[in-house]
């Protein structure tokens, strides 16, 4: 891949191992490589600026803020209560509740760790109480949180859309069915695993109770329909949808649930800004890294050598999946998009893989990366909540990982799973 490429990637790996933040490792590797190979280093600040000042990316702080507002407004406990009244009486009910509410919360928040934090604090202790193994409960919540970036709105899709220049609205719609399939596979595993636990039994709720609980959670349940309906109906763009979600959350929090206080807002705005900045700093440094990869022809060299080795679509997709799963163990989804997409896109164009479909494949891969040690952000959040060791949750997560990878294979090799819905809607 040429000496620039080798230097760039080696430096990046070394700096990462020294526990230098990903954003800084990307930036340092880029600056040093540019300096050594006499590239115009002043490009750095221009590229960084251009990568950050993008209207589309505004969806990131807005969706993060909307999720935090909804959470503070008391949405998660209402969703959990409703799901619990609906399916809680079934065997493994709470496990199903976890997956269902995660999928729904994912449709509000768009971030994996945020989903785990919002639901895990309630559901992990609840599952523990009911007789599930704490390790299993935490592993389930961590895996279910990964649905957060597959089901729209999703920060990962926003960034993928920007890097690959694909419609974000279409990516959002394409993520729905794969996200649900991912959730189903987690439910199946939970039911098998929980056979060995002695679980408490639940009463079936009366239709009246169920209706009351539905009414309470209605405003939360409506959110995804507003966001996706608005985007699909052409009423607003994904970025505007994120802004609308913020105001919808404020409306629900102040006037309907009345749990949001004016004095909470400052903290929410600060926290949302910092969380978004952490993502955006990676975006800006990774874009410099990506600039080197693209302009130095590193991508085309790698693509050429891959194509020389094999031209089988099945083999290449399998290879890409393995690379992504391994990459996902060490780096976050956002950096992976910037670093790897410029390399993959020429290969995908040659073998004829739809870029929307690939967006789903890549996002599912990186969602799995959120629950694979050593760097699985969701695992850290979940074991923090459950107060168990990383080793214990890493062991408990294995069956869920296997199921996720099986779901990934289906999504990779059956394009219809992702593309059926957008095609049906004529996107």
């Amino acid at each position: 891949m040429g000496s620039v490429g080798i230097l760039l990637f080696t430096l990046f790996a070394l700096l990462l191992l020294l526990n230098i933040p990903i954003a800084a490792s990307l930036g340092l590797a880029s600056v040093i490589a540019m300096y050594v190979f006499n590239l115009p280093v002043k490009v750095y600040s221009y590229t960084m600026y251009a990568a950050t000042a993008k209207f589309t990316l505004l969806a990131i702080p807005f969706f993060i803020l909307a999720g935090m507002i909804m959470e503070k407004a008391g949405i998660s406990k209402r969703l959990i209560d409703f799901a619990n009244k609906a399916v809680g009486h079934m065997r493994g009910g709470l496990a199903i509740v976890s997956v269902l509410t995660s999928s729904f919360f994912a449709a509000i928040s768009g971030s994996g760790p945020a989903t785990v934090a919002a639901l895990g604090t309630i559901l992990i202790p609840a599952m523990d109480d009911e007789g599930y193994d704490k390790g299993m409960a935490s592993a389930l919540l961590a895996s279910a949180g990964a649905i957060g970036i597959i089901i729209p709105p999703s920060i990962a899709f926003v960034v993928y859309g920007v890097v690959a220049q694909v419609s974000i609205g279409k990516l959002f719609i394409a993520g729905i069915v794969p996200g649900l399939l991912f959730g189903m596979s987690l439910i199946v595993v939970s039911l098998i695993v929980s056979k060995k636990y002695k679980l408490k039994k639940h009463e079936v709720s009366t239709p009246k109770e169920l209706f009351e609980s539905f009414k309470e959670s209605f405003w939360g349940l409506l959110t995804p329909f507003i966001i996706l309906g608005g985007i699909y109906g052409g009423i607003f763009t994904p970025t505007e949808a994120a802004g609308v979600a913020v105001f919808y959350g404020l409306f629900v929090g102040f006037f309907i649930y009345k749990e949001l206080k004016l004095k909470d807002l400052g903290e929410l705005f600060v926290n949302a800004s910092v969380s978004s900045a952490v993502v955006m700093l990676i975006v800006s440094s990774a874009s410099v890294f990506a600039w080197i990869i693209t302009t130095q022809g590193i991508a085309s060299k790698i693509a050429a050598s891959v194509m020389a080795a094999t031209s089988s679509k099945i083999v290449i997709l399998l290879m890409i999946n393995i690379i992504l799963l391994v990459a996902g163990m060490f780096i976050d989804a956002i950096s992976a998009f910037y670093i790897l997409l410029p390399i993959f896109i020429p290969i995908l164009n040659t073998i004829g893989v739809d870029l929307t479909l690939f967006g789903v494949i890549m996002t599912v891969n990186l969602a799995i990366g959120q629950v694979t040690p050593p760097v699985g952000v969701n695992l850290y959040v979940a074991c923090g909540i459950a107060d168990i060791s990383l080793a214990r949750i890493s062991k408990a997560v294995v069956p869920f990982l296997v199921a996720s990878i099986i779901a990934l294979m289906f999504i990779t090799y059956i394009p219809a799973i992702s593309l059926w819905l957008p095609n049906l809607l004529g996107l």
Binding site: P21, A24, A53, I235, S275, A277, L281, P374
Partner: protein, 158 residues
């Protein structure tokens, strides 16, 4: 130094609150005005995206101080408490060095925007107003990494 920094951080937080609120309000008013007044406020995009750059760099500064930036701790987790502290200290200082170089390059960018009198496309505002976000933001981030490094060294065994 830490006390001074705590004060600065409070100012940062207010800037974050103000910028994110303005961004959200402008973005939402654009949707409203398109449907209610049939007028597009698309020029607001320029303000929003540029505030976003400031918001990002200042938010990143706060994140830097509190260890909010994602990293790989597989080696440092296996070290003794003292060794891992030293490693984290070095990581913070090396990160600060990156942003020191960015102050330099960002300054170069702003200088040329200033000299050539470049203005923005929609509102005709001087480019360097917004370009400043890079050198100034990098200065804050550098400072925060230094503070974080210092606090890492000072931290006693948990």
């Amino acid at each position: 130094m830490i006390k001074f920094y705590d004060k600065v951080e409070k100012v940062f937080k207010w800037i974050l609150i103000a910028s994110l609120s303005i961004m959200a309000i402008l973005n939402f008013s654009n949707v409203l005005s398109r449907y209610l007044l049939h007028a597009s406020l698309s020029f607001t995009e320029e303000v929003t995206t540029n505030l976003f750059v400031y918001n990002t760099f200042i938010g990143a500064a706060i994140g830097a101080r509190h260890g909010g930036h994602l990293g790989l701790s597989i080696i440092s987790d296996r070290l003794s408490f003292k060794a891992s502290r030293i490693m984290l200290f070095i990581a913070n200082i090396v990160s600060a060095m990156l942003f020191a170089t960015l102050i330099y390059f960002g300054y170069g960018m702003v200088k040329s925007q200033f000299i050539y009198g470049q203005t923005t496309a929609a509102l005709g505002l001087p480019e360097w107003w917004f370009g400043m976000a890079i050198p100034v933001g990098s200065l804050f981030i550098m400072f925060s990494f230094v503070v974080a490094g210092y606090e890492t060294l000072m931290k006693g065994e948990a």
